[in-house]
Symmetry: C2
Subunit: 352 residues, 2 copies
Amino acid sequence: MTIYDISEKAGVSIATVSRVLNGSQSVSEKTRQKVLDVMEQCGYTPNAFARGLGLNTMQTIGIMCADSSDPYLAKAVYYIEQKLRSRGYDSLLSCTGYELEAKEYSMNLLITKKVDSIILVGSNFVYEREEDNRYIAEAASQVPVMVLNAAMDTPNVYSVMSDDYTSIYNATREMVAGGIRDILYFYNSHSYSGRRKLSGFQAAMEEQALSGGAPLVEFYRGSHEDIHAMVRHLRAVRDAGKEFHGVIAADDTLGLAAVKYAAEAGYRVPEDFSVISYNNSMLACCCQPELTSIDNKLETLCEHLVATLFGILEGKEMPKKTVFSGETVRRGTTRRTASDTEQAKPICTHER
Amino acid sequence: MTIYDISEKAGVSIATVSRVLNGSQSVSEKTRQKVLDVMEQCGYTPNAFARGLGLNTMQTIGIMCADSSDPYLAKAVYYIEQKLRSRGYDSLLSCTGYELEAKEYSMNLLITKKVDSIILVGSNFVYEREEDNRYIAEAASQVPVMVLNAAMDTPNVYSVMSDDYTSIYNATREMVAGGIRDILYFYNSHSYSGRRKLSGFQAAMEEQALSGGAPLVEFYRGSHEDIHAMVRHLRAVRDAGKEFHGVIAADDTLGLAAVKYAAEAGYRVPEDFSVISYNNSMLACCCQPELTSIDNKLETLCEHLVATLFGILEGKEMPKKTVFSGETVRRGTTRRTASDTEQAKPICTHER
DNA sequence: TTGAAAGCGCTAACAC
DNA sequence: GTGTTAGCGCTTTCAA
């Protein structure tokens, strides 16, 4: 069933059929109806490939994501897919893993498939060394590239992110203000946002000029799912003689491990031990006490990202970088402080 | 840069270029090299749309999933995407939500986009009423449809699933054998596998002919992420006068809520209160004590599903339904029993 | 082994 | 408003 069959049965030319297909104004209402009727009764569907060939787009966006089974990334992918779909675009998903080479490869594949844009979900796509980001710049020379949770100053690359630095900075200050001096920063990623968070922690600690020594920082390399390994890691730190009574964790999994560790070690939480983690995912409510966690407004970020993308696709000028601020959701792993009463309003900042 | 440009620069016809592009045998090694060289040096990439038009495929598989932010479904999507990609296929993801109408709509869209097959991730796509599954049968008349975790006896529909019925049946029997008579079955889905699990519970309970009354069964309707609401639900059950000392939960979230409930209610787990849940996800290790949970071998299922799909695409006859058995992973929410010593070997059963 | 040419199904100038 | 026609970039007979 092609446009030719329809044109024949409707007694018009294929051009007319194509016109009603594309909602052209220059078709009389009468012929439009006739054509529509024939299409309907034949159950006709235009061939997407032919259409793609003609229009040079199949209304498809490539979504790259290191690991869509990571709950946080999965959520982001979900939000983005929903919002793309609501505007009639489909999502080609590519789970790349964390290796640069695989990312480059996937990127090229997506470009080859002629997607209209590529969305990088998660800050792990942006590396510290400029040359490692060349693959993004290259892709951006073909289609607009949207980056969630990381920033890059490159033509045709647009970033939407949360202010991780400030969120962790504030959390650290708050914990220090609560009287905890031996705080451990526990993280598992050197991604763009991972680096920003770490900086936030270090800045806050240095500012306090606490305890002389360098602040305690631990990098966890194991599986993102292996809570037990994380707990063991913390135990090993203490066994090595470094005691700590507070943990700032780069994500909720690590935070949850910290709560487990504290329970095992016999600390009372939050009286003797505090934890603040990041993401405010469901995990925050899974342990006892529940985790105080920083909410980075993922849905808002995704919404904004997609809105920006469509602006670009429509040819509008759009902000190259947008930063939203996070919000600390206080639960049982921190003591109440004076700052709790402050209104923690999320502020949306646009940067050009 | 098209095939014409290449043919010209290589001094051959476009047919020859096309042949090397498609790895045809009937090209002399010499011309093949020449063409390849030219392509390389021009950075030529074939136009995917034109290719799709000619070959009538873009090597793309549609993945439908009610909610890819659900950790379990996200994991399935991840596994499937990986395995498809490793065979050179791309994944068009469509998150449909749980409404039938939206599923029908998405299905049609995917067909319109000319995917080579559709994979339904999650048992919620298969309804109890035959007519509600017509949309699947219709799609199957166009492309093979693969269903994960649900079965349908329909031409061109292939199912790969875990034996949920038996897993829950065994878990229930085990708990009863452990001396718990007032067991609550806690679930949140009427999906195909949801119904199978429930049946397994009921069968085991009826067999024991316990306590006269009907077994305690509670359906939770709230958000899949709201642990507190689940705990409240359980509390309300007891407040209504129905006490229970064991919970069989249809997934780990519900199981985790049961552990929280037990702690609040002052039960000692597992001495006075047992919990067995389903999925064996990371959540099982997030509470204290940790959850005994049934592992349904998701990765194995996905692997098998994709392998089956490729068999079909290659024109082979493949089993229409494959059932794998689950495995109970025992942790802190159940007491050790005699059956623990039994070797719980996963068995793979094929049915034609 | 290679080339010429006819599609694949649609879009979009251009002419009427 | 509508039709004719030339592409879009590739695949694939059919001859040579």
